[in-house]
Symmetry: C2
Subunit: 760 residues, 2 copies
């Protein structure tokens, strides 16, 4: 605990030996390719696949007629292949399975589709207008659950309202009321490994899916629902992931693959790998572009009095997790600040654009960008240091959240102090240098559950069965540490079995910074269960009481005795010719449901089992002649409850900050009339090692009473404060404020020119 155990899969991955999904080959495997819509919105009049079917080597051609029905976690609005109309450029229209990729691609060219183009809508604000073209005409019918609120007859698929206190009264009591609108761009996850899926219908009637998914159990349940099969007939085996960042949650390539696998003969498996181009715009997701309008009131003494916000998330052609993103942000509109009067409207809106979905931070990076830009503007307005201003308003243990939750484990003030200290606040080192701060306030998916099994072998080696997906974040190492700690064995003796829904037990999914907390607790409990069995067995064998024994480093000791200890391997467990029995532990962790949400106020909405807090201070240098921003340093202080593996936490923070730099300064998937134009790594730039700032990671440990050893999580947080910290630092450096991400040289030069113009 608290030790920088190297990743248990480090050698395998660093030496290039890990077998990722794209490397997988199965006997008789066919290759699938997808014909996608070239139009953003159109009725499908006819799909002629006859020529494609006749091409030698083609084993199946599918269209929307082959696998009807729709899927979707929140709103079942998405077909595997479109039947009646297409809703974005990239929407699947037909699929081909062939003996090789070349043949599959050739077959796609032989498919003829007749479309009738429909008016399309690309701007989410226009999409919200009464007479906008409807992306989904039959919107209302697919909802499930009582927490999503579509606006009937419109493109708004969720409208989350938050009402607390009296916001107008709050503005009246304020000395300054300022309103600004901020926007964020469409950005892509850019995980190095593309999405892959292999689907195979088994002779037994089972369906097996190999998938690069972060959510094996969601894929399983959704596929079962889609195919109308019992859940246990669907097996999802997770391949080794090369990054996910939220881009691999929910169903992605699986339905495309399934339709083909259903149609091919002899149970041949069908594999689909997305190309890099497809990754940018098709099937996969992007981060929701957002328009965030914030009006905030503050007293002269720096006390925040009221905040009103309208948030519009552009979810593209399908809802995916958009409604949940909307709710998640809608519940978090106070940021990590005490604001007595709140009014929020968060909208999730369909447009004829690529599908937006989960992306590290789940809407919060967009909101924190706006919120902490606004905080700096307010601080400036009242003439207060932005750090002092934030500290004055920051939440504390026992404060009440926007939705009425009493907050526990609140490390924000310490994060602000630590980040300030680590950056050397207001000790700038050069001309055109600037410093700025951003913060983080993020819930986790609640309610949600995790379960784990722990098996002990007779030599003391351990297997942890968990459905948490290690996509590079190091969860297997942390889970191994927890199991080792609890069982009293060495980490190297713990193996974590990779997720396979037929065997590894339920997990909600690897997302929302929840794995250490939820799965950590489940593994801890399963290991404790196994340890109890071990000690009972050992006690009998050693003729002592179980409670007199303790386990450390693979040895058992009688408490208080100075003896050498006996190895766990000497306790006989299920061995053929000896005493003993198998040791198997189980653990489940669930967060209970909250009181029902009030639809009109958002009060009582699922409180988050934990909240993550963080503060980052950035120092930048801006070249006023080119507009180029160089991020020199980011001091990132994060309250993660308790650090289980410092090295791992540091890696999570550093990686996220670099992604944050990309979001802040360079990343934007440009869509022109629905058409993505920069779908490659030359035109869509992401930060390279040369763009990476020095990152100083600071851990704040506001231990959580329900977390394993007090831990919360650190998967998403460090991405969220970075853009605001950089934006505020740019303002500090050169006095211009960019409100639309990314902060490109062009925008800076334009702003500088305008500022100069104003001065003149």
């Amino acid at each position: 605990m608290g030790t920088s155990v190297p990743r248990i899969d480090a050698v395998e991955k660093v030496t290039g030996r890990a077998v990722y999904g794209p490397d997988l080959k199965l006997p008789g495997m066919l290759h699938g390719k997808v014909l996608r819509s070239p139009l953003p919105h159109a009725r499908i009049l006819n799909v002629d696949t006859s020529k494609a079917e006749q091409l030698p080597g083609v084993k199946a051609v599918v269209t929307g007629k082959d696998l009807t029905g729709r899927y979707g976690l929140i709103i079942q609005d998405q077909p595997a292949y479109c039947l009646e109309k297409v809703r974005y450029i990239g929407d699947p229209v037909a699929g081909v399975a062939a003996v090789d990729l070349d043949t599959a691609e050739e077959a796609l060219e032989l498919i003829k589709v007749d479309y009738e183009e429909l008016p399309a809508v690309f701007d989410p604000l226009k999409a919200m207008e009464p007479n906008a073209p409807l992306v989904h005409e039959e919107l209302g019918s697919y909802f499930h659950g009582p927490v999503f609120f579509p606006v009937a007859g419109t493109n708004t698929c969720n409208h989350f309202k938050l009402r607390k206190g009296d916001v107008e009264e709050g503005f009246r009591q304020s000395d300054f009321v300022i309103e600004n609108t901020f926007t964020t761009s469409m950005v892509q996850h850019c995980h190095l490994e593309p999405h892959i899926s292999i689907a195979k219908f088994e002779p037994s009637g089972q369906v097996t899916i190999w998938s690069s998914t972060q959510h094996p159990y969601t894929v399983r349940r959704e596929v079962a629902r889609f195919l109308k099969l019992p859940i246990n007939r669907v097996r999802v085996i997770v391949t080794c992931l090369g990054g996910g960042f939220g881009g691999k949650v929910m169903l992605k390539v699986e339905p495309l693959c399934l339709a083909l696998a259903m149609k091919v003969k002899n149970y041949r498996p069908v594999k689909i790998i997305l190309t890099r181009e497809e990754e940018f715009y098709a099937t996969s997701v992007v981060r929701h572009p957002s328009i965030i309008q914030i009006k905030a009131g503050v007293r002269k003494n720096g006390t925040l009095m009221a905040l009103k916000t309208k948030i519009v998330f552009d979810t593209g052609a399908y809802a995916d997790v958009g409604p949940v993103v909307t709710r998640s942000v809608g519940m978090s509109i106070s940021g990590p600040y005490r604001i007595p009067n709140l009014w929020g409207d968060a909208y999730c809106v369909y447009t004829n654009k690529p599908i937006a979905g989960a992306f590290r931070g789940f809407g919060i990076p967009q909101f924190m960008w706006a919120m902490d830009s606004q905080m700096d503007i307010l601080a400036k307005e009242i003439g207060m240091d932005p750090v002092e201003f934030r500290l004055k308003n920051a939440l504390e243990e026992g404060d009440v959240s926007a939705t009425g939750q009493i907050l526990h484990s609140v490390g924000i003030k310490e994060c602000i102090r630590q980040a300030t200290q680590a950056i050397g606040w207001r000790k700038k080192t050069g001309k055109y240098h600037g410093q700025g701060m951003g913060t983080l306030y993020k819930m986790t998916q609640t309610p949600s559950s995790s379960a784990a099994f722990v098996k002990l072998s007779e030599d003391g080696s351990v297997e942890v069965l968990s459905s948490t997906v290690d996509m590079g974040q190091g969860s297997n190492t942390v889970l191994a540490q927890i199991a080792a700690e609890e069982l009293g064995v060495e980490v190297k003796n713990v193996k974590v079995v990779s997720p396979d829904t037929s065997v590894t037990p339920f997990d909600h999914g690897t997302a929302s910074s929840r794995s250490t907390f939820h799965m950590g607790n489940a593994v801890k409990q399963a290991a404790a269960d196994a340890k109890k069995q071990l000690l009972e067995m050992a006690a009998e064998q050693l003729e002592v009481k179980p409670e007199d024994l303790e386990a450390r480093g693979g040895f058992l000791y009688v408490k208080g005795s100075s003896g050498k200890g006996i190895p766990i391997s000497s306790i006989r467990m299920g061995i053929t010719y000896g005493k003993g029995k198998p040791i198997i532990g189980r653990g489940t962790f669930s967060v209970p449901e909250a009181t029902p949400l009030d639809q009109e106020t958002g009060q009582g909405a699922y409180p988050s089992v934990f909240w993550l807090y963080g503060a980052q201070a950035a120092e930048v240098e801006v070249d006023p002649s080119t507009g180029k921003v160089e991020v020199l340093k980011v001091a990132a202080a994060h309250d993660l409850g308790r650090v289980i593996n410092p090295l791992n936490c540091e890696q999570q923070i550093e990686g996220a900050v670099v992604t944050g730099v990309g979001t802040a300064l360079m990343e934007e998937l440009i869509i022109r009339e629905g058409k993505p134009v920069n779908t490659n790594f030359r035109d869509y730039r992401i930060p390279t090692a040369l763009d990476a700032p020095e990152v100083s990671s600071v851990f704040v440990e506001a231990t959580h009473k329900e977390g394993p050893y007090g831990a919360k999580g650190v998967g998403e947080p460090a991405l969220a404060p970075t853009a605001a910290a950089i934006g505020n630092a740019v303002y500090d450096a050169i006095g211009v404020r960019i409100k639309d991400l990314p902060i490109t040289p062009e925008k800076i030069l334009k702003a500088l020119k305008e500022k100069a113009g104003k001065k003149e």
Copy 2:
């Protein structure tokens, strides 16, 4: 429970869709072949593999130098490939992995081995003599465990002694004392699917073995020990088995495969499938040929007074499970009879012949052949009906076994009565017809353990994780029935996950008729654990007490209410947006160790947790002109505790009886000077459908207090009584007694001629 649920894998298997081990292909897979010794006993002077290595397509050549060390469950006496000497014709000397089988076979021909031939021993009685050539010079050093007793400096690797009462006094008190010697032949399992193994060293340092094994956890542990790896680094995935009958227990082809997989580059998997010829004599096992001498004393009134026996099991070149077979039989020398004075010596002896090992019945079929032939001879001597004689002496509940165990669940008398009734005892239907009886008395592997997990999905579908191998006996169906019964769901909603040691929990192995009892109990417990969680969750949701709920047919009912019940699927378990938590159950079943065995008397030796009893009556017709025996009918009454699936039990009994007919009348692997001569299905005849008698199965249910629902097992029993029943029937038909199996026409004609000669 008690319902003839069709096999859950029936459709898949009957339609030829099941994917068996030999069907498995992995990417990059190489094919392995083994060069075997042509000599029964020889020193290896030199192995020249240079030419084989140079053959294009050859990826690895291994010899005894590549993977040293020895394996063996009881005695570690077996190398993967021989290094110093070979011990039987078929002993592996070198192996080749190549891109295809032809290349591998061609490479074998290029390997040159220089041998120095050594004197060999083939007759087990000669092998026991003081100056016999030693098959293993360094015998003493490999033993583990306190239960096997080699005779130092000889070929005897186990001598199990049983002493009870005063056997000489018993003979003195007898009116008749008769001594006979019976023998059994070397027979082969003849499972239709040959042995297969695929070994792959993973880049992660893991070793994965796909194997047609009945004992995945034994393979895992033995491979880990052999390779000096932690147990969790070895993963054994069981392929779909096409029969086992004991031939697939312990390590078989795996070490041969592992040595090759270790040596090939790029982690390519290596597959070995044995040919049918190899199945007969190499690597695999045969049933121990035996020589059983029985001296028994009886009073005029039919009371058995004493029995003295010397049993010699010929284990061939390696011990395998021979020592356990010897002990198992040594403990069972009373048969299902009350005999106050017992003296037994059971020997396991090395010879330079194919390796004998586990085979359905584990030595008991050999002994029951001798015992029940002797019982008939005794009955005849005192002029008593053999059935009456058996009933007079048969064991009852509460009787004490030969090793001092108080017996529970003793159905032998009822079996004898039922078999007698079902055959129509002494109501023969034709000339040269005869009737005879045989019985069964068999322990199960004790102590031993099983463990299981049970997972419930939110739609009420179930997964059972168990390492029991369904090799055709139907265990998956029975385990599904148990889980369904316990959980209150339908059998069709239960899936049994096939064994994979990384995920399915520990099981001792699928052998010894133990699965229904041991794994049945573990699954029952795991399902009960899951049900407890379900009812607690449901109770909370329905606002009742858990104990007021019951589950039936996938629905929950409030006890005593006449309501319709609510489906299990409405109880929310770990679903994303709802109350609930994952439901996972665990169960372990272990039989505690007994008091230590007294080496000189066998008293206290591991009592068996249950004993199986059975009686079969056969009716035969003998053609005195040809000596041909036709088995018309076998009435097989078996005490299996409690019937869980009648159809499945009937199938087990019918299959075993047919194998028993083969053992009785036709099967013998002939070895001449160490060389097997009839290693194919033309020269080694097994019963066909035409040879199968009418089988009338009768179930006797002497429920066992520790069995699941009272069940014991029925895997092995029905093979054991058949030979004696047939042999006794032959005597009844034509008055000649054959004491050496198989009862061939030649032996009958010879005996008839001798009998006629005597009469003259």
